[in-house]
């Protein structure tokens, strides 16, 4: 058994999309897609006509896949290996693995979101695996306790769900995870986002949105933020960890402990300062 198995991912050279990951000695089929929901637009009179806006998420129909192909470039070296994917004019991503690290980083860049209809776009990234998660997923509560979520279910009352998508979305401060008898997959965020697992084996997280019609909850303004005269651009990272859900991984750590360690290192990250050398040589400076 290789105690420090490589962390790897495969890219289909024809589509430029990720197809498989291998972390902690475990490999699974794994795909990642960007999609967007159209936001519902209504007259806000009755709940059924509430617009999607700053205070609420009300998707209008199924999400649209942004692209089925991505152009890509590979950068390899002694410290990090990166694949730079470009999906269209306003969505790109870097998939990155650092040497000796057992986590895969998805560094996404979204915006300015084009405005070409009345609905606005609510962009998600969706990670798909073969994990048989049995309608169950886990999200953290404010970076602390992990809560069990079951699709279309509430622990304290018999749920009749009117909103099949947003009714299954939960706040994700740092972690959303799924697992089956063998494997566990966790996606760690670098900021609070909304997320869900709408199908077994899948995790989705909303990374950017603009809504073009106020939702009448009080702000009195559509959620359509701009910067430098254009739609806002958002950049951030997700960190994917895969491992055994029942035993320690080859490096001796359980997946849960690695997830906990990564969360702490990302959210209380070491702080980088820069300063001048005052024209001194290394020895003088030291």
């Amino acid at each position: 058994i290789d105690e420090s198995p490589n962390t790897e991912f495969d890219i289909d050279p024809d589509t430029g999309m990720i197809t498989e990951i291998s972390i902690n000695g475990h490999s699974i089929n794994f795909t990642q897609d960007f999609l967007y929901y159209q936001g519902y637009v209504g007259d806000n009179e009755k709940f059924i006509n509430r617009s999607s806006g700053a205070y609420i998420f009300r998707p209008y129909g199924d999400p649209f896949k942004v692209a089925t192909k991505a152009s890509f470039k590979v950068t390899r070296g002694p410290v990090v290996t990166e694949v730079h994917q470009t999906f269209n004019d306003w969505i790109s991503q870097v998939i990155r693995v650092y040497e000796e690290e057992n986590v895969i980083e998805f560094n996404w860049l979204v915006g300015p979101i084009p405005i070409d209809d009345v609905h606005g776009k609510e962009i998600i990234t969706r990670y798909k695996t073969s994990i048989k998660s049995n309608a169950t997923f886990y999200t953290d509560s404010n970076g602390r306790e992990t809560l069990t979520r079951i699709r279309n279910f509430r622990p304290t009352w018999n749920l009749k769900l009117e909103e099949p998508v947003s009714g299954n979305y939960y706040p994700v401060t740092t972690k959303i995870a799924i697992k089956d008898d063998d494997l566990e997959l966790a996606v760690l965020t670098d900021r609070a986002q909304g997320g869900s697992s709408l199908k077994d084996g899948e995790i989705e997280l909303m990374i950017h949105r603009n809504c073009l019609h106020d939702d009448a909850f009080g702000v009195g303004e559509a959620l359509n933020e701009t910067a430098f005269g254009k739609g806002l651009v958002a950049r951030g990272s997700h960190y994917v960890i895969l491992g055994s859900s029942k035993d320690s991984n080859p490096n001796g750590y359980t997946t849960a402990s690695q997830v906990h360690d990564q969360i702490q290192q990302k959210l209380l990250s070491a702080w980088t300062f820069v300063s001048g050398t005052e024209n001194l040589s290394f020895d003088q400076y030291k």
Partner: protein, 187 residues
């Protein structure tokens, strides 16, 4: 304490007025960004003073042989769009990595640079393995980014002590004067 109040007040205003993305008008969101960044800027004085105390407790200026109150540490708040005037305009600089956790950690440091050949020495003078990585093309054209950097210098700061720091000495060089002892990176 005074320098912390600006950030305290900014956080107080934002938490009180639920500065959750979007549930405030645009001009209010812009004002939140203003008061928050001013608050963080005011904290730089305290962080530089505190860090100087542990980095060089009784440091005397090498040239003028007089006490140096504080090392002018600064940060790169726009490193998330690969933009940092300091590391772009200086050929030589020092990177100090501070670990806020109570156990050693390692961290991959990425700084935007304009050159493509740099040496890095760790605190013991050993040469650190580095890599120059291109900034993603799509990032170069986002609105509002004012940077010359098309590359990032990446290296791993290893085993930064708990509640401690490590400093790294970075020098840019041209290809013909490659300093001795540069390890051949594994391609």
């Amino acid at each position: 304490r005074v320098d912390l109040n600006a950030l305290r007040e900014a956080m107080g205003v934002m938490q009180h007025h639920d500065a959750i993305t979007g549930t405030e008008k645009q001009h209010v969101a812009n004002d939140y960004a203003r008061i928050l960044s001013n608050g963080i800027k005011e904290c730089e004085w305290i962080t530089a003073t505190a860090l100087s105390k542990i980095v060089a407790p009784n440091m005397r200026s090498y040239l003028r042989d007089e006490p140096v109150p504080t090392i002018p540490f600064t940060t790169c708040p726009l490193a998330n769009i690969s933009q940092c005037a300091f590391t772009e305009t200086n050929n030589d600089f020092v990177i100090t990595v501070y670990n806020p956790l109570s156990r050693p950690v390692s961290k991959h440091v990425r700084v935007p640079v304009v050159g493509n050949k740099y040496t890095i020495k760790d605190p013991q003078g050993a040469t650190v393995v580095t890599q120059i990585v291109p900034v993603p093309a799509s990032l170069l054209r986002i609105p509002g980014r004012k940077s010359l950097a098309e590359n990032e210098l990446v290296f791993k700061a290893v085993d930064i002590p708990a509640l401690g720091f490590k400093s790294y000495f970075i020098q840019k060089y041209e290809s013909n004067d490659i300093p001795k002892g540069i390890p051949k990176g594994r391609s």
